[in-house]
Structures are given as structure tokens and as C-alpha cells.
Amino acid sequence: MEKVIEVKNLVRIYKSEVGYLRKKIREVIALNGISFEIYKGELFGLVGPNGAGKTTTVKILCTLLTPSSGSVKVLGCDVVKEANKIRSRINVMFGGERGLYWRLSGRDNLRYFAYLYEIKYTEINRKVDKLLDLVGLSDRADEKVENYSRGMKQRLHLAKCLVNDPEIIFMDEPTAGLDPAFAHDLRNFIKKLRNEGKTIFLTSHNMTEVEELCDRVAIINKGNLVALDSPQSLKRQVTNYVTIEVEYQNPSSELNSNLGKMLEPNFVTLEMEKRNLILKIQLSQREDLFKVLHKLYNAIYGIKNVRIREPTLEDVYLKLIGYQKK
């Protein structure tokens, strides 16, 4: 398969000045020698906690930032030396409310970006109409963007990143802050783009989304890649993991404080939902399932519901990142 992105030992260090009179240079290592490859037509996901280096990676790949060291090639071109050869063939969607001209209409925004991407003059209006139609903004195309809802702005971002029919699309948390219905539509749209042969680089905090969409997923933490594989293969790392969700009423505070100790070494969280408590126990050994259920049955009165859930990508994430924090 053809490689379209090649990252080798990528390091990115941010330097900033600290202090007023005696200024010191503070260095923050955002990426600490990561390496990966992405193939043509692949939907690649990058997940990790806030500040892990996801956006920095996207910015380097789309030529907005320079790597401190290492080699990064997009479509066979170096992101520093041959940035101009890359730019017309890629596009990026940073998402959120920024990145649009609020005082211009949606149509004018797209027209302007079409010019910026050197789209043939005679095709611009037709292309803009088509994109507006595609993202369902035709009816409100001539309204100022400042009057758009967050979802509409995100649709415009999406149309904007398709303006040059890019070979690679970088999407940085595209569904963040969207209502479930539009997030669902957007996910379907991303799948459609992948089916059309586009390579998509996606970052997200939503593990369900990443698991549903991505062919391969990389997990990044503190600038280091801690895992990289298909969601199925990654989940094999946690085949032993089973999550038990116990919903119960009338808990005693003594019981709740002892649960963690009682169920050691398993990972326990307690959430309040309406008037019920939901106890989530992530077992590290599948064989412990009946032993733990027996303990719970003896310890908790007023159990309303028990659910047993198979491992998900979120479990892999929590194992690799969440547990380190705990």
C-alpha cells in the first residue's frame, strides 16, 4: 500500500520565556520522537489526553508548525522544504468556532477559501453551491456566519476543508461540542469521504467515535506514542477486561468508602445518576467475574440492575493512560 504520511522520530519542543527581569527559557516537549506511517485511503485516528500532542502533530503535518527534529513527509514531500507542494493537496479542519470570517456570509467564506486554494475561477461559484448543498447550508448561505449555530459553523468548516478536493484531510476534534444528531451525521460524512478514497487523519476524545470510524488508532500520551494498531487488535490487549455496572439504591456511606478496598485490585468508579448510584468495576482478570459478583451480592442491598460490558477502545485507553494517572 502507498504511504501518504511518513513520520520518523518527530520531536517538537516549544520554547517560551519565563520571568520578567531574569528571563529564562522554558522548554516543553510536546512530541518526543514519535514515528508512524499512514497509507492511502486510510482513516487514521490519534487519541490522547489534553496536551498529549495531538494538535501539534496535526499542525506539523499540515505545514503550520516546523518540527524541532525528525523527518515528516506528506505525499512524499518534506513538510519544511517542500511545504508549497503539499498545501494544495491537503486541507485541515480545526473545528470549533474559530477559523471563519464571522462578518461574512457562509457563501463568501467558501468563495474566499476557494480563491486561497487557487480553484479555477470559472468553477468557484458552482463548487461553492455544491459544497453548501452537501453540508446542508444552502438555505442560510447568504447569512452572516456570526448568526450561525455551532453546528452550522462546523458544517461550514467541513465544506471549507473540501474546497480543494484534498487527498488528505486533517480533522482535529471535528465532533467536539456538537449535538449527538449532528455528530452522527458528521461521522457518516467522514465514512463517506473515506469510501471515496480520501485519506483522513482524525483526532478525537470520543473513543466510541474513533472505534467506529478508524482503520488504525494511535494513542499518544505526553508526546509519546503508547500504542498503534487497529481498534480490534488494540482491544485484544484488554480481552481479560470486563466491566460490571451495578445500579443500586440506598447506599450507606461506609459501604461506598469501602468498595474500592473490597474490590482491589480492580478499577472502581462510582457515579450518581438520578437517585441511583452506578458502580463501575473494571476487572483486570475475566476469571474474577463470578467472585466479584458474589462479593457485590453479599455487600450491597437494593441492587436494581447489573450490566456486564465487553471491552472497548475506551478500556484500552484507560488502561494505557487513565490508569497511569490513577
Partner: protein, 264 residues
Amino acid sequence: MKPIKSNLRLILVNMEITLKSLSARPTWLIDNTIVPLIFTLVALFLFYLAELDNFIPYAVFGSGIAGMWATTLFGAGNSLRVERILGTLEYLLICPTGLWKNLFGRALAFSLLGLTVFGQALTLAVFVFNVPIIVSNSVVFVVAFLLTVVSFVALGMLLAPLFIIARSAPNLMNSLETLILVFCGVTYPVSVLPPLFQIVSYTLAPTWGMEALRFTVSSICLDGIVLRNVVIIICLTFIYLIFSKKLVNSIEKKVRLKGGLVRI
């Protein structure tokens, strides 16, 4: 031919976008028309009461050009600050057309707006103060005027990129705006400045432009001198544009290295 056409279209669309964004601002008429009109009016009254000989070359041209310069420099620079706040500057840096051409379009749009200030000054002189504007050679006047405008745009292009790297650029720009007007002798002859200052003045294309404009309305207009000034303006403007392109490129590199665009 194709790149020239597409570059021209890009500049035009930047002008269109700039003017549309500006006109959507509720206060744009006050900022860009009414306030400059008041300043122009005050300047004209002051000169009118003092000495009528200097009224057209120094008061009318001076206040018109000063207003145009303020609009061009602050507009182009401020548009970059707004891009930074909106988060669109990042997209301008990664688009294939590059930042410089887009910035040039913006600066031209603001100079167009600035021209209205110049137009106001001329209109006030003729219709309110009843002072006719007599130019010895209207073609030479138009050429000198247009080149002066372009030279200001080029000078603005040299300074505006500061807005990309420095968040405090608006303060710096206020000082620079006045300094350039002082050095270019917009409302007085450069010869009144100390010799050391005059050296700086003559490295600034608008100084030559202002001189050329004054010659066209003076009783002893020498086409040869105006032509000399025109050639110097063209050369200096060309140099500014080359330097501004290099400056924008080097700032782009710096921004990519530092990665501080998100800070506003």
C-alpha cells in the same frame, strides 16, 4: 499570463472581502469617514487662516495623504490582528497562495478607503473653502498621486507583518504612523527637518511623492524634477515590496518555528 490573472483575482477578492467585512462593522462609517473628515476640516481651517499659498500643497494634500496613510497602515495591520483573533490567520499561512499576496490585497483595499479621505480633502478645499486646485500637468499629477498611494501601500506592507509576531503591535503602529508622517514632511517641507532626519526622509518613497505632488501645483512646475521623483518613487516602492515579501517569508518561518499564533 494565467498566473498574473489569478494573482490579480486574488488581490481583488481580498479587497472585496476586506471591504465587505469592514462595512459589516457598525462603526465603520465613523472610523473611516467621519473622524478623518473632522481632522481634515480642522487642518484646513488652521492653514486657511494662516497662509493661503500653502493651502493646497500642504493642507489639502497633507491632510488627505495623512488620513490615507493612517487608514492604510492601521487597516492592514489591524486586519491581521483580527485574523489572529478569528483564528483565520492559521489558514492563511497554510493555503497555497501564501500570506503576502493576501496581505497586499488587504492593504490595497484600505488604501482605497484612504483615497476617500483624500477625496474629502479635495472636495472641502474646492467647495467649502473656494480654493481651486490648479495643476500644471494633470497627467503628471495623476501619475504622481497614484504612485504616492502605492508607495504608502508598500510602506504599510513593510510594517504590517509586525502584527503577525507581536501582539503589542497596535501600540507600536500608532507611534510609527506619526513618525512616518513626520519624516515624509506631509504637512511641511522636509527641508525644515534637521539634516540627519532628512537622510531618513529621503529613504522614504512618500517623501518624494509628496514633493512631486507639490511641484505639480506650484507655479514653477518642472516636469523633469517631477519625473525624477517618479522614478525614485518607483525604485523605492519596488525595494519596499521585495523587502516586505522577504520579511513576511521570514516571519512565517519564525511563526512556524515558535508556534505562537494561537495566543491572542
